[in-house]
Amino acid sequence: MRRSMLFIPGNTPSLIVNGDILGADSIILDLEDAVSPAEKDSARILVRNTLKHLGLKGCEIVIRINPVDTDFWYKDLDEIVPHKPDAIMLPKVNGPEDVKKVSEYIAGIEEKCGMEKNTVKIITLIETTMGVENAFHIAGCDERVIAMFLGAEDLTADLRCVRTKEGAEILYCRQRLVTAARACGVDVYDTPFTDVEDIEGLYKDARFAKALGFTGKVSISPRHVEGINEVFSPTKAEIEYAHEVLDIIEEAKRMGRGVVSLRGKMIDAPIVNRAKQVIEMEKAIYGGTDHE
């Protein structure tokens, strides 16, 4: 389960050492924008040592490397991949060829280190207009790809429009990414809400993203993690309904009935699938009961 993803600068030890107690389902140790070119070497070694020695527990570890149009990305991978992060976040993905290039390089390191193939997954960061238009081909281009993430700051610069809190300028991009990701069976994460102080605005933005179909949301501030987790968790009513759905399906099976209804609505396959997803999340969050 990955609802919240939190960026942590890759060259700031005071933040890294506390990365696993901030409540995020996933932390992203950043070697890209949060690190100046003169400090890339230093951050790379610090993040590598963190993976090797620190053993951050209870959250997924993702490393944002530098984009493929720099000379840093393969040096990042050389240091990081042998220490088995859960995933690499690849920024500024314009098309499938960017993902393939990185995936093949990771495969070479995995083979050299005796690691199982595809141990290290890829999360693609879509933050260019070309990336948005190629979203479907990117999402399905490589079995390492487990998720996509929309980065609206660079994207709105590329769109030549102003980034607003309301986000009307990125609505098409959000919907396109959700559709592409869902069509390819991968998760999809919404852009960070960048006003750290505006918690009410964060909730509103996160609820809108959830309504569009996003799996979760990325954050640049630990202050936003709790709100994101809350919004992207099933509600008590959703959990109760999901249990009722699965209970009535079980009962129908026992009784040999093909068609069932609950609260006046026919229960069909999509509703059952949705109920199973809710109960999976319940188990992941609260350790709920297993219906199988």
């Binding site: 030890p13 005071s14 070497d41 230093s42 610090l46 040592n49 090797k52 020695h53």
Partner: protein
């Protein structure tokens, strides 16, 4: 690895360490300042020595100003300074 020039790595921020490496003709010299010198001074010096050994450095002066960094941070900062001092990064 031969240390050919002065180099630094890290910062003086909390939980970090600022490491300076200089060429030295007479073996290894470690100068340590730390907010936890009494409690962990020997452990920090041992970690610095390990990183020097891993990188086959036999002549260097290493000055560490530790601001409460954990072991993997100190090791990272020393390694970075060493690599910068040999000029390969």
């Amino acid at each position: 690895m031969k240390i050919v020039k002065n180099a630094v790595a890290g910062t003086l921020e909390s939980s970090d360490a600022y490491v300076q490496v200089e060429p030295n003709e007479a073996g290894i010299e470690i100068v340590l300042e730390s907010v936890v010198l009494t409690q962990f001074g020997d452990d920090i010096k041992a970690s610095v020595m390990e990183v020097l050994a891993e990188n086959e450095v036999t002549n260097a002066k290493v000055s560490v100003n530790d601001r409460g960094a954990i072991d993997c941070t100190i090791r990272a900062r020393v390694e970075t300074a060493l690599k910068r001092a040999q000029g390969d990064l």
